[in-house]
Protein backbone atom coordinates (compact mmCIF):
# COMPACT_ATOMS: atom_id res chain seq x y z
CA UNK A 1 0.00 0.00 0.00
CA UNK A 2 2.87 2.30 0.69
CA UNK A 3 4.21 3.27 -2.64
CA UNK A 4 7.69 4.59 -2.70
CA UNK A 5 7.43 8.24 -3.60
CA UNK A 6 7.56 8.71 -7.35
CA UNK A 7 10.95 9.86 -8.51
CA UNK A 8 9.86 11.86 -11.51
CA UNK A 9 6.96 14.10 -10.68
CA UNK A 10 5.12 16.05 -13.28
CA UNK A 11 4.92 19.53 -11.88
CA UNK A 12 1.23 20.08 -12.48
CA UNK A 13 -0.99 21.07 -9.57
CA UNK A 14 -2.90 17.80 -9.11
CA UNK A 15 0.30 15.85 -8.96
CA UNK A 16 1.95 18.28 -6.61
CA UNK A 17 -0.82 18.07 -4.00
CA UNK A 18 -0.34 14.32 -3.98
CA UNK A 19 3.31 14.58 -3.16
CA UNK A 20 3.75 17.44 -0.71
CA UNK A 21 7.25 17.30 0.76
CA UNK A 22 7.22 15.68 4.17
CA UNK A 23 9.06 18.61 5.71
CA UNK A 24 6.21 20.91 4.80
CA UNK A 25 3.85 18.55 6.61
CA UNK A 26 6.11 18.51 9.64
CA UNK A 27 6.32 22.30 9.85
CA UNK A 28 2.53 22.51 9.62
CA UNK A 29 2.23 19.97 12.41
CA UNK A 30 4.62 21.90 14.64
CA UNK A 31 2.64 25.08 14.03
CA UNK A 32 -0.69 23.54 15.02
CA UNK A 33 0.82 21.90 18.09
CA UNK A 34 2.64 25.00 19.35
CA UNK A 35 0.07 27.64 18.48
CA UNK A 36 -2.54 26.77 21.15
CA UNK A 37 0.16 27.05 23.83
CA UNK A 38 0.30 30.77 23.20
CA UNK A 39 -3.07 31.60 21.67
CA UNK A 40 -6.02 30.18 23.55
CA UNK A 41 -8.16 28.36 21.03
CA UNK A 42 -11.69 27.58 22.08
CA UNK A 43 -13.07 24.72 20.13
CA UNK A 44 -16.62 23.48 20.38
CA UNK A 45 -16.64 20.71 22.93
CA UNK A 46 -19.18 18.00 23.53
CA UNK A 47 -18.82 16.35 26.91
CA UNK A 48 -18.86 12.59 26.72
CA UNK A 49 -21.27 10.81 29.08
CA UNK A 50 -18.37 8.90 30.65
CA UNK A 51 -16.67 12.13 31.76
CA UNK A 52 -19.97 13.61 32.93
CA UNK A 53 -20.61 10.54 35.08
CA UNK A 54 -17.27 10.80 36.82
CA UNK A 55 -17.85 14.48 37.49
CA UNK A 56 -21.29 13.82 38.95
CA UNK A 57 -19.98 11.02 41.13
CA UNK A 58 -17.45 13.37 42.69
CA UNK A 59 -20.09 16.10 43.01
CA UNK A 60 -22.34 13.72 44.93
CA UNK A 61 -19.81 13.08 47.70
CA UNK A 62 -20.89 14.83 50.91
CA UNK A 63 -18.65 17.56 52.26
CA UNK A 64 -15.67 16.32 54.25
CA UNK A 65 -15.71 13.04 52.34
CA UNK A 66 -12.55 11.02 51.91
CA UNK A 67 -11.14 10.25 48.47
CA UNK A 68 -8.10 8.17 47.50
CA UNK A 69 -6.27 9.14 44.33
CA UNK A 70 -3.83 6.65 42.91
CA UNK A 71 -1.47 7.94 40.22
CA UNK A 72 0.06 4.86 38.63
CA UNK A 73 1.83 6.44 35.70
CA UNK A 74 5.31 7.47 34.66
CA UNK A 75 7.04 9.92 32.34
CA UNK A 76 6.09 7.97 29.23
CA UNK A 77 2.42 8.88 29.53
CA UNK A 78 2.87 12.19 31.29
CA UNK A 79 1.15 14.02 28.46
CA UNK A 80 -2.17 12.35 29.11
CA UNK A 81 -2.00 11.37 32.76
CA UNK A 82 -0.69 14.64 34.17
CA UNK A 83 -3.66 16.75 33.03
CA UNK A 84 -6.00 14.03 34.32
CA UNK A 85 -4.34 14.02 37.72
CA UNK A 86 -4.45 17.78 37.84
CA UNK A 87 -8.11 17.95 36.83
CA UNK A 88 -9.30 15.41 39.36
CA UNK A 89 -7.28 16.88 42.23
CA UNK A 90 -8.49 20.35 41.35
CA UNK A 91 -12.08 19.18 41.54
CA UNK A 92 -11.55 17.42 44.87
CA UNK A 93 -9.88 20.46 46.37
CA UNK A 94 -12.48 22.79 44.96
CA UNK A 95 -15.08 20.69 46.73
CA UNK A 96 -12.94 20.70 49.90
CA UNK A 97 -12.92 16.92 50.21
CA UNK A 98 -10.18 15.15 52.13
CA UNK A 99 -7.61 13.77 49.70
CA UNK A 100 -5.08 10.96 50.01
CA UNK A 101 -2.70 10.49 47.10
CA UNK A 102 -0.33 7.62 46.45
CA UNK A 103 1.14 5.66 43.56
CA UNK A 104 2.14 2.17 42.55
CA UNK A 105 4.81 3.78 40.40
CA UNK A 106 7.93 5.49 41.67
CA UNK A 107 7.81 8.27 39.09
CA UNK A 108 4.06 8.63 39.49
CA UNK A 109 4.58 9.21 43.18
CA UNK A 110 6.92 12.11 42.49
CA UNK A 111 4.76 13.60 39.75
CA UNK A 112 1.55 13.37 41.74
CA UNK A 113 3.21 14.92 44.79
CA UNK A 114 4.40 17.88 42.70
CA UNK A 115 0.95 18.43 41.21
CA UNK A 116 -0.89 18.02 44.51
CA UNK A 117 1.39 20.35 46.44
CA UNK A 118 1.11 23.03 43.75
CA UNK A 119 -2.69 22.81 43.79
CA UNK A 120 -2.72 22.66 47.60
CA UNK A 121 -1.14 26.11 47.68
CA UNK A 122 -3.76 27.41 45.28
CA UNK A 123 -6.67 26.03 47.32
CA UNK A 124 -5.17 26.60 50.79
CA UNK A 125 -4.99 22.91 51.53
CA UNK A 126 -2.95 22.15 54.59
CA UNK A 127 -0.76 19.07 54.49
CA UNK A 128 -1.74 16.51 57.13
CA UNK A 129 -5.02 18.25 57.77
CA UNK A 130 -6.67 18.39 54.37
CA UNK A 131 -4.49 16.10 52.33
CA UNK A 132 -1.77 13.51 52.59
CA UNK A 133 0.58 11.73 50.21
CA UNK A 134 1.26 8.10 51.06
CA UNK A 135 4.12 7.86 48.58
CA UNK A 136 5.22 4.99 46.39
CA UNK A 137 3.75 1.58 47.23
CA UNK A 138 5.04 -1.43 45.36
CA UNK A 139 3.16 -4.72 44.96
CA UNK A 140 -0.36 -3.92 43.87
CA UNK A 141 -2.16 -7.01 45.18
CA UNK A 142 -0.82 -6.79 48.70
CA UNK A 143 -1.67 -3.12 49.14
CA UNK A 144 -5.17 -3.49 47.73
CA UNK A 145 -6.06 -6.53 49.79
CA UNK A 146 -4.81 -4.90 52.93
CA UNK A 147 -6.42 -1.48 52.47
CA UNK A 148 -9.84 -3.09 52.28
CA UNK A 149 -9.53 -4.19 55.89
CA UNK A 150 -7.21 -1.64 57.44
CA UNK A 151 -6.26 1.70 55.91
CA UNK A 152 -4.11 3.22 58.69
CA UNK A 153 -2.35 -0.13 58.97
CA UNK A 154 -1.65 -0.24 55.24
CA UNK A 155 -0.36 3.30 55.02
CA UNK A 156 1.38 3.73 58.35
CA UNK A 157 3.70 6.43 57.06
CA UNK A 158 3.50 9.14 54.40
CA UNK A 159 6.01 9.63 51.59
CA UNK A 160 8.54 11.26 53.90
CA UNK A 161 8.23 8.48 56.44
CA UNK A 162 6.17 10.50 58.91
CA UNK A 163 3.57 8.46 60.80
CA UNK A 164 0.04 9.03 59.51
CA UNK A 165 -1.70 7.80 62.65
CA UNK A 166 -2.27 11.24 64.19
CA UNK A 167 -2.89 13.18 60.99
CA UNK A 168 -6.21 14.97 61.02
CA UNK A 169 -6.90 14.03 57.43
CA UNK A 170 -7.07 10.35 58.39
CA UNK A 171 -9.47 10.89 61.27
CA UNK A 172 -12.23 8.29 61.38
CA UNK A 173 -10.82 6.38 58.44
CA UNK A 174 -10.50 2.73 59.35
CA UNK A 175 -11.26 0.57 56.34
CA UNK A 176 -12.70 0.70 52.84
CA UNK A 177 -16.21 1.47 54.16
CA UNK A 178 -15.02 4.92 55.23
CA UNK A 179 -13.80 5.81 51.76
CA UNK A 180 -16.19 7.67 49.47
CA UNK A 181 -14.33 7.32 46.23
CA UNK A 182 -11.16 5.97 44.65
CA UNK A 183 -9.83 7.48 41.46
CA UNK A 184 -7.09 5.67 39.60
CA UNK A 185 -5.06 7.49 36.96
CA UNK A 186 -3.12 4.90 35.05
CA UNK A 187 -1.58 3.82 31.79
CA UNK A 188 -2.13 0.14 32.52
CA UNK A 189 -4.89 -2.38 33.14
CA UNK A 190 -4.67 -1.85 36.90
CA UNK A 191 -8.39 -1.05 37.05
CA UNK A 192 -8.99 -4.81 36.89
CA UNK A 193 -7.17 -5.25 40.19
CA UNK A 194 -9.23 -2.52 41.84
CA UNK A 195 -12.43 -4.08 40.55
CA UNK A 196 -11.37 -7.56 41.58
CA UNK A 197 -9.97 -6.77 45.00
CA UNK A 198 -11.47 -3.54 46.31
CA UNK A 199 -14.56 -2.21 44.56
CA UNK A 200 -16.96 -4.93 45.65
CA UNK A 201 -16.01 -4.56 49.31
CA UNK A 202 -17.97 -1.32 49.76
CA UNK A 203 -21.19 -1.03 47.74
CA UNK A 204 -21.22 2.76 48.16
CA UNK A 205 -17.66 3.23 46.98
CA UNK A 206 -17.34 5.14 43.73
CA UNK A 207 -14.49 3.96 41.57
CA UNK A 208 -13.40 6.33 38.82
CA UNK A 209 -10.79 5.50 36.22
CA UNK A 210 -8.63 7.80 34.10
CA UNK A 211 -6.90 5.76 31.39
CA UNK A 212 -4.90 6.86 28.37
CA UNK A 213 -6.91 7.18 25.17
CA UNK A 214 -5.48 3.93 23.82
CA UNK A 215 -6.54 2.02 26.92
CA UNK A 216 -10.04 3.48 27.15
CA UNK A 217 -12.14 1.26 24.84
CA UNK A 218 -11.45 -1.88 26.85
CA UNK A 219 -12.86 -0.25 29.97
CA UNK A 220 -16.29 0.63 28.52
CA UNK A 221 -17.93 -2.68 29.53
CA UNK A 222 -17.05 -2.04 33.17
CA UNK A 223 -18.72 1.34 33.10
CA UNK A 224 -21.85 -0.24 31.64
CA UNK A 225 -21.87 -2.75 34.47
CA UNK A 226 -21.39 0.03 37.00
CA UNK A 227 -18.13 -1.28 38.39
CA UNK A 228 -16.46 1.87 37.14
CA UNK A 229 -18.54 4.93 37.93
CA UNK A 230 -17.04 7.16 35.24
CA UNK A 231 -14.09 7.38 32.90
CA UNK A 232 -11.89 10.33 32.06
CA UNK A 233 -10.58 9.30 28.68
CA UNK A 234 -7.08 10.53 27.94
CA UNK A 235 -6.33 14.18 27.45
CA UNK A 236 -9.68 14.71 25.85
CA UNK A 237 -11.50 13.52 28.96
CA UNK A 238 -9.30 15.80 31.03
CA UNK A 239 -10.18 18.77 28.82
CA UNK A 240 -13.88 18.03 29.21
CA UNK A 241 -13.41 17.68 32.93
CA UNK A 242 -11.66 21.03 33.08
CA UNK A 243 -14.62 22.54 31.31
CA UNK A 244 -17.02 20.95 33.80
CA UNK A 245 -15.13 22.36 36.78
CA UNK A 246 -14.63 25.67 34.96
CA UNK A 247 -10.86 25.65 34.93
CA UNK A 248 -8.57 26.19 31.98
CA UNK A 249 -5.62 23.96 32.52
CA UNK A 250 -3.08 21.96 30.65
CA UNK A 251 -5.65 19.66 29.04
CA UNK A 252 -7.64 22.47 27.46
CA UNK A 253 -4.47 23.79 25.85
CA UNK A 254 -3.36 20.31 24.89
CA UNK A 255 -6.72 19.42 23.45
CA UNK A 256 -6.57 22.53 21.29
CA UNK A 257 -3.27 21.33 19.85
CA UNK A 258 -4.42 17.77 19.43
CA UNK A 259 -7.72 18.68 17.81
CA UNK A 260 -5.97 20.94 15.33
CA UNK A 261 -3.50 18.16 14.56
CA UNK A 262 -6.40 15.81 13.81
CA UNK A 263 -7.97 18.42 11.58
CA UNK A 264 -4.65 18.87 9.80
CA UNK A 265 -4.34 15.15 9.14
CA UNK A 266 -7.90 14.90 7.88
CA UNK A 267 -7.39 17.87 5.55
CA UNK A 268 -4.20 16.35 4.20
CA UNK A 269 -5.96 13.07 3.51
CA UNK A 270 -8.73 14.92 1.68
CA UNK A 271 -6.27 17.00 -0.37
CA UNK A 272 -4.26 13.95 -1.31
CA UNK A 273 -7.34 12.12 -2.47
CA UNK A 274 -8.67 15.05 -4.46
CA UNK A 275 -5.37 15.13 -6.33
CA UNK A 276 -5.51 11.40 -6.84
CA UNK A 277 -9.05 11.43 -8.18
CA UNK A 278 -8.33 14.40 -10.44
CA UNK A 279 -5.29 12.80 -12.05
CA UNK A 280 -7.05 9.50 -12.43
CA UNK A 281 -10.11 11.06 -14.02
CA UNK A 282 -7.87 12.85 -16.50
CA UNK A 283 -5.90 9.69 -17.11
CA UNK A 284 -9.02 8.04 -18.44
Amino acid sequence: MAMTSPTSQPSDFWHRIQAIDRRVLYVLLLVVIILPLFVPIRLPMVTMPSTQKLYQAIESIPEGGFVIVSATWSGGTRAENMPQTEAILRHLMKRRLRVAVFSFDQQGSQFSYNIASRLAKEYNYEYGKDWVHWGFRPIVGVVMKSLVRDIPGTFTTDRDGKPTKDMEVMKGIRDIKDVDAIVEIAASGIYMDWIGLVVGANPNLKFGFCPTAVMAPETYPYMDSGQIVGIMEGMRGAAEYEQLIRATGLATKGMGSISLAHVLIMLLIIIGNIGYIATRARGR
Binding site: L25, M45, G75, L268
Partner: protein
Protein backbone atom coordinates in the same frame (compact mmCIF):
# COMPACT_ATOMS: atom_id res chain seq x y z
CA UNK B 1 14.95 -40.28 51.84
CA UNK B 2 14.72 -36.72 50.51
CA UNK B 3 15.64 -35.33 53.89
CA UNK B 4 19.46 -35.35 53.48
CA UNK B 5 19.21 -33.79 50.01
CA UNK B 6 16.97 -31.00 51.26
CA UNK B 7 19.35 -30.43 54.16
CA UNK B 8 22.31 -30.36 51.81
CA UNK B 9 20.69 -27.66 49.67
CA UNK B 10 19.52 -25.52 52.57
CA UNK B 11 20.97 -22.13 53.45
CA UNK B 12 24.34 -22.30 55.15
CA UNK B 13 25.75 -20.21 58.01
CA UNK B 14 28.60 -17.77 57.18
CA UNK B 15 31.21 -20.01 58.79
CA UNK B 16 30.89 -22.84 56.25
CA UNK B 17 29.45 -20.83 53.37
CA UNK B 18 32.76 -20.21 51.54
CA UNK B 19 33.43 -23.95 51.39
CA UNK B 20 30.07 -24.67 49.85
CA UNK B 21 30.43 -21.85 47.31
CA UNK B 22 33.95 -22.95 46.40
CA UNK B 23 32.73 -26.53 46.20
CA UNK B 24 29.94 -25.54 43.85
CA UNK B 25 32.40 -23.66 41.62
CA UNK B 26 34.85 -26.54 41.48
CA UNK B 27 32.10 -29.07 40.87
CA UNK B 28 30.69 -26.95 38.04
CA UNK B 29 34.12 -26.61 36.44
CA UNK B 30 34.53 -30.38 36.57
CA UNK B 31 31.16 -30.85 34.92
CA UNK B 32 32.08 -28.34 32.20
CA UNK B 33 35.36 -30.18 31.57
CA UNK B 34 33.38 -33.36 31.24
CA UNK B 35 30.94 -31.74 28.84
CA UNK B 36 33.76 -30.44 26.68
CA UNK B 37 34.77 -34.01 26.02
CA UNK B 38 31.24 -35.20 25.34
CA UNK B 39 31.04 -37.06 21.99
CA UNK B 40 29.09 -35.08 19.40
CA UNK B 41 26.30 -37.61 18.97
CA UNK B 42 25.30 -37.07 22.61
CA UNK B 43 25.24 -33.29 22.42
CA UNK B 44 21.87 -32.74 20.78
CA UNK B 45 20.06 -35.21 23.06
CA UNK B 46 21.59 -33.49 26.08
CA UNK B 47 20.35 -30.09 24.90
CA UNK B 48 16.94 -31.60 24.20
CA UNK B 49 16.80 -33.00 27.74
CA UNK B 50 17.78 -29.69 29.32
CA UNK B 51 15.15 -27.88 27.24
CA UNK B 52 12.50 -30.43 28.08
CA UNK B 53 13.19 -30.37 31.81
CA UNK B 54 13.15 -26.58 31.93
CA UNK B 55 9.79 -26.53 30.18
CA UNK B 56 8.48 -29.40 32.24
CA UNK B 57 8.66 -27.33 35.40
CA UNK B 58 6.18 -24.75 34.13
CA UNK B 59 4.01 -27.31 32.35
CA UNK B 60 3.78 -29.49 35.45
CA UNK B 61 3.11 -26.52 37.68
CA UNK B 62 0.16 -25.69 35.45
CA UNK B 63 -1.26 -29.19 35.03
CA UNK B 64 -0.76 -30.74 38.47
CA UNK B 65 -3.86 -30.87 40.67
CA UNK B 66 -4.19 -28.01 43.12
CA UNK B 67 -5.29 -27.67 46.68
CA UNK B 68 -8.58 -25.73 46.40
CA UNK B 69 -8.04 -23.81 49.62
CA UNK B 70 -4.64 -22.34 48.77
CA UNK B 71 -4.86 -22.59 44.98
CA UNK B 72 -1.41 -24.15 44.97
CA UNK B 73 0.29 -27.41 44.15
CA UNK B 74 3.67 -28.78 45.14
CA UNK B 75 5.50 -26.66 42.57
CA UNK B 76 3.69 -23.34 42.98
CA UNK B 77 5.98 -22.12 45.75
CA UNK B 78 9.00 -22.51 43.49
CA UNK B 79 7.62 -20.13 40.83
CA UNK B 80 9.37 -17.16 42.39
CA UNK B 81 12.72 -18.95 42.45
CA UNK B 82 12.20 -20.05 38.86
CA UNK B 83 11.55 -16.52 37.68
CA UNK B 84 14.63 -15.31 39.56
CA UNK B 85 16.61 -18.05 37.87
CA UNK B 86 15.29 -16.95 34.49
CA UNK B 87 16.15 -13.29 35.09
CA UNK B 88 19.60 -14.18 36.35
CA UNK B 89 20.40 -16.30 33.31
CA UNK B 90 18.87 -13.80 30.89
CA UNK B 91 20.67 -10.96 32.64
CA UNK B 92 24.01 -12.64 32.22
CA UNK B 93 23.74 -12.33 28.44
CA UNK B 94 23.70 -8.55 28.72
CA UNK B 95 27.47 -8.57 29.04
CA UNK B 96 27.63 -10.19 25.60
CA UNK B 97 25.60 -7.33 24.20
CA UNK B 98 27.77 -4.75 25.93
CA UNK B 99 30.86 -6.49 24.57
CA UNK B 100 29.40 -6.11 21.07
CA UNK B 101 28.98 -2.38 21.64
CA UNK B 102 32.51 -2.07 23.00
CA UNK B 103 33.90 -4.03 20.07
CA UNK B 104 32.16 -2.02 17.36
CA UNK B 105 32.81 1.38 18.91
CA UNK B 106 36.23 0.59 20.34
CA UNK B 107 37.35 -0.32 16.84
CA UNK B 108 35.86 2.90 15.44
CA UNK B 109 37.92 4.91 17.92
CA UNK B 110 41.10 2.88 17.57
CA UNK B 111 41.12 3.24 13.79
CA UNK B 112 39.85 6.81 13.88
CA UNK B 113 37.12 5.89 11.42
CA UNK B 114 34.78 8.64 10.24
CA UNK B 115 32.64 9.68 13.17
CA UNK B 116 34.95 8.17 15.77
CA UNK B 117 34.10 10.99 18.16
CA UNK B 118 30.50 9.78 18.23
CA UNK B 119 31.71 6.38 19.32
CA UNK B 120 33.78 8.09 21.97
CA UNK B 121 30.72 10.00 23.16
CA UNK B 122 28.84 6.71 23.39
CA UNK B 123 31.49 5.12 25.57
CA UNK B 124 31.85 8.21 27.79
CA UNK B 125 28.08 8.34 28.26
CA UNK B 126 27.99 4.65 29.11
CA UNK B 127 30.81 4.81 31.63
CA UNK B 128 29.47 7.90 33.36
CA UNK B 129 26.02 6.37 33.62
CA UNK B 130 27.46 3.25 35.22
CA UNK B 131 29.67 5.19 37.64
CA UNK B 132 27.06 7.66 38.79
CA UNK B 133 24.24 5.14 38.69
CA UNK B 134 26.08 2.87 41.09
CA UNK B 135 27.16 5.79 43.28
CA UNK B 136 23.53 6.81 43.42
CA UNK B 137 22.59 3.41 44.73
CA UNK B 138 25.50 2.41 46.88
CA UNK B 139 27.07 5.75 47.84
CA UNK B 140 25.62 8.70 49.67
CA UNK B 141 27.42 11.45 47.81
CA UNK B 142 25.07 14.38 47.18
CA UNK B 143 26.83 15.73 44.10
CA UNK B 144 26.99 12.25 42.56
CA UNK B 145 23.23 12.06 43.01
CA UNK B 146 22.93 15.39 41.25
CA UNK B 147 24.97 14.24 38.28
CA UNK B 148 22.97 11.03 38.08
CA UNK B 149 19.81 13.10 38.10
CA UNK B 150 21.05 15.10 35.09
CA UNK B 151 22.03 11.92 33.25
CA UNK B 152 18.87 9.98 34.05
CA UNK B 153 15.96 12.38 34.54
CA UNK B 154 17.46 15.15 32.44
CA UNK B 155 18.88 13.28 29.50
CA UNK B 156 17.75 9.65 29.28
CA UNK B 157 14.09 10.18 30.16
CA UNK B 158 13.77 13.21 27.90
CA UNK B 159 15.45 11.41 25.04
CA UNK B 160 13.00 8.53 25.46
CA UNK B 161 10.11 10.96 25.34
CA UNK B 162 11.52 12.77 22.31
CA UNK B 163 12.03 9.65 20.19
CA UNK B 164 8.55 8.55 21.20
CA UNK B 165 7.09 11.90 20.14
CA UNK B 166 8.70 11.74 16.70
CA UNK B 167 6.00 9.22 15.86
CA UNK B 168 3.58 12.16 15.77
CA UNK B 169 5.45 13.50 12.72
CA UNK B 170 5.63 10.13 11.05
CA UNK B 171 1.97 9.39 11.63
CA UNK B 172 1.12 12.56 9.69
CA UNK B 173 3.27 11.72 6.69
CA UNK B 174 2.23 8.07 6.72
CA UNK B 175 -1.49 8.80 6.76
CA UNK B 176 -1.17 11.51 4.10
CA UNK B 177 0.67 9.13 1.79
CA UNK B 178 -1.07 5.81 2.49
CA UNK B 179 -4.70 6.81 2.86
CA UNK B 180 -5.60 7.08 -0.81
CA UNK B 181 -8.49 5.37 -2.50
CA UNK B 182 -6.12 3.22 -4.55
CA UNK B 183 -7.71 -0.13 -3.73
CA UNK B 184 -10.64 -1.48 -1.80
CA UNK B 185 -8.45 -2.28 1.17
CA UNK B 186 -6.79 1.12 1.24
CA UNK B 187 -10.17 2.78 0.99
CA UNK B 188 -11.61 0.79 3.89
CA UNK B 189 -8.56 1.59 5.96
CA UNK B 190 -8.87 5.28 5.19
CA UNK B 191 -12.59 5.58 5.79
CA UNK B 192 -12.50 3.92 9.20
CA UNK B 193 -9.43 5.83 10.30
CA UNK B 194 -11.16 9.02 9.21
CA UNK B 195 -14.38 8.22 11.07
CA UNK B 196 -12.54 7.28 14.23
CA UNK B 197 -10.48 10.47 14.06
CA UNK B 198 -13.68 12.48 13.77
CA UNK B 199 -15.07 10.67 16.79
CA UNK B 200 -11.90 11.36 18.77
CA UNK B 201 -11.92 15.13 18.69
CA UNK B 202 -14.47 17.63 19.90
CA UNK B 203 -14.57 19.30 16.48
CA UNK B 204 -15.84 16.08 14.95
CA UNK B 205 -18.41 15.57 17.66
CA UNK B 206 -19.70 19.08 17.17
CA UNK B 207 -20.50 18.18 13.55
CA UNK B 208 -23.19 15.72 14.57
CA UNK B 209 -24.19 17.36 17.82
CA UNK B 210 -27.52 18.35 16.28
CA UNK B 211 -28.57 14.71 16.26
CA UNK B 212 -30.58 13.55 19.27
CA UNK B 213 -28.71 11.91 22.16
CA UNK B 214 -31.24 9.10 22.51
CA UNK B 215 -33.03 6.80 20.10
CA UNK B 216 -32.18 5.45 16.67
CA UNK B 217 -30.63 8.60 15.23
CA UNK B 218 -28.27 8.86 18.18
CA UNK B 219 -26.34 5.96 16.74
CA UNK B 220 -25.36 8.17 13.78
CA UNK B 221 -23.45 10.60 16.01
CA UNK B 222 -19.75 10.26 15.14
CA UNK B 223 -18.72 9.39 18.68
CA UNK B 224 -21.22 6.54 18.65
CA UNK B 225 -20.09 5.34 15.25
CA UNK B 226 -16.54 5.34 16.55
CA UNK B 227 -17.56 3.45 19.64
CA UNK B 228 -19.52 0.93 17.58
CA UNK B 229 -16.54 0.26 15.30
CA UNK B 230 -14.27 -0.21 18.30
CA UNK B 231 -16.57 -2.35 20.41
CA UNK B 232 -18.13 -4.53 17.70
CA UNK B 233 -15.95 -4.80 14.59
CA UNK B 234 -12.61 -4.08 16.19
CA UNK B 235 -13.09 -6.27 19.23
CA UNK B 236 -14.31 -9.22 17.14
CA UNK B 237 -11.56 -8.94 14.52
CA UNK B 238 -8.82 -8.57 17.10
CA UNK B 239 -10.16 -11.55 19.02
CA UNK B 240 -10.15 -13.67 15.87
CA UNK B 241 -6.57 -12.67 15.14
CA UNK B 242 -5.66 -13.38 18.75
CA UNK B 243 -7.06 -16.91 18.61
CA UNK B 244 -4.84 -17.64 15.62
CA UNK B 245 -1.83 -16.18 17.38
CA UNK B 246 -2.62 -18.20 20.48
CA UNK B 247 -2.76 -21.49 18.62
CA UNK B 248 0.35 -20.59 16.60
CA UNK B 249 2.28 -19.72 19.74
CA UNK B 250 1.17 -22.93 21.40
CA UNK B 251 2.34 -24.93 18.38
CA UNK B 252 5.79 -23.35 18.30
CA UNK B 253 6.17 -23.75 22.06
CA UNK B 254 5.34 -27.44 21.73
CA UNK B 255 7.84 -27.86 18.93
CA UNK B 256 10.58 -26.19 20.89
CA UNK B 257 9.77 -27.95 24.14
CA UNK B 258 9.81 -31.37 22.50
CA UNK B 259 12.77 -30.46 20.26
CA UNK B 260 10.66 -30.99 17.15
CA UNK B 261 11.55 -27.55 15.80
CA UNK B 262 13.39 -27.31 12.50
CA UNK B 263 15.08 -24.51 10.63
CA UNK B 264 18.12 -22.30 11.07
CA UNK B 265 19.34 -22.72 14.59
CA UNK B 266 17.97 -26.18 15.14
CA UNK B 267 19.27 -28.17 12.23
CA UNK B 268 22.93 -27.35 12.41
CA UNK B 269 25.33 -30.18 13.15
CA UNK B 270 27.10 -29.60 16.43
Amino acid sequence: MLEPIVRFFSAKPPAVLPYYVAGAVIFSILVILLLINLPSRMRKPLIAIVTFLAGLFYAAEFFLPIDRATNKNVLTDYLVSASKLGSLLGGMTLTLGILSLLRVHGRNIARLRAGWYNSLALLVAMVSMVVFGLMDKYGANASAKKVFNVLFEGMLINMDATMFSLIAFYIVSASYRAFRIRSIEATILMVTAFLVMLGQVPVGNAMTDWLPREGFFASLRVENIKQWILSQVNAAALRAIAFGLGVGGLAISLRIWLSLERGAYFEKEI
